[in-house]
């Protein structure tokens, strides 16, 4: 199973954010249409729907492309991703003129290290599992 390693890497990379997207969209639909949350979430929903999964896929392609060369363990490789995604996410909010709620802004500096841990664990165990399943490493 060595054909198309980058396609496999992309597929393995996007699996987790794509699965979580179902949960996120369900929460979004309930918040918007059942609980009438006034925050214009539809302006920023494109980010977790399109940008984040592709970023994960491309980041995994980058990881697989380093096979045989010096590279970080996959957990640490994944933990670098928030440093790229967070500025992108903020830029999208700024571009679409989305005002980030103050409590979320306040918690972000403390939450960011926790995000690194989450990304480390998810990449080390989940993305590595899918990579292994698809015969790439």
């Amino acid at each position: 199973m060595s054909a198309h390693p980058y396609l496999r890497a992309y597929m393995a990379g996007i699996t987790i954010p794509t699965m979580l997207l179902l949960v996120l969209l369900t929460v979004f639909i309930f918040a918007r249409h059942v609980y009438d949350v006034s925050t214009p979430l539809e302006r920023i929903i494109a980010f977790p729907m399109a940008v984040a999964p592709n970023a994960w896929g491309l980041w995994n392609i980058f990881y697989v492309s380093r096979h045989g060369r010096r590279r970080l363990p996959i957990g640490f490789h994944g933990a670098i991703l928030p440093f790229l995604i967070a500025p992108l996410a903020y830029t999208v909010c700024w571009l679409v003129d989305f005002e980030i709620p103050a409590p979320l802004l306040r918690v972000f500096p403390f939450a960011f290290p926790v995000f690194l841990v989450v990304f480390y664990l998810v990449w080390k165990h989940a993305v590595a599992f899918f990579n292994d399943l698809l015969g790439i490493s």
Binding site: L24, P48, A52, V107, A111, V114, F115, V117
Partner: protein, 73 residues
């Protein structure tokens, strides 16, 4: 569009897109995937369990971080 009008278009499309021949994989890939699924898994080190537990507790203490995290995943 009438039937006789469609024929040149159909011929043109057939000419432009020739049959691609064998489309099925040469071998069944499912058993190999099953073998990989059922294969031995690396044990999760205790340190990762601690990290996961601490993260979970932190998210329960500060639930406002959950939407921010979900937005980045």
């Amino acid at each position: 569009m009438k039937e006789h009008d469609e024929k040149p278009l159909r011929d043109f499309l057939k000419q432009a897109l020739p049959p691609i021949g064998e489309t099925a994989p040469r071998r069944d890939l499912w058993p190999e995937l099953l073998r990989r699924l059922e294969g031995p898994r690396a044990a999760v080190p205790w340190f990762d369990w601690v990290l996961a537990a601490v993260t979970l507790i932190w998210l329960l203490l500060f639930p406002e971080a959950i939407p921010v995290l979900a937005y980045h995943l």
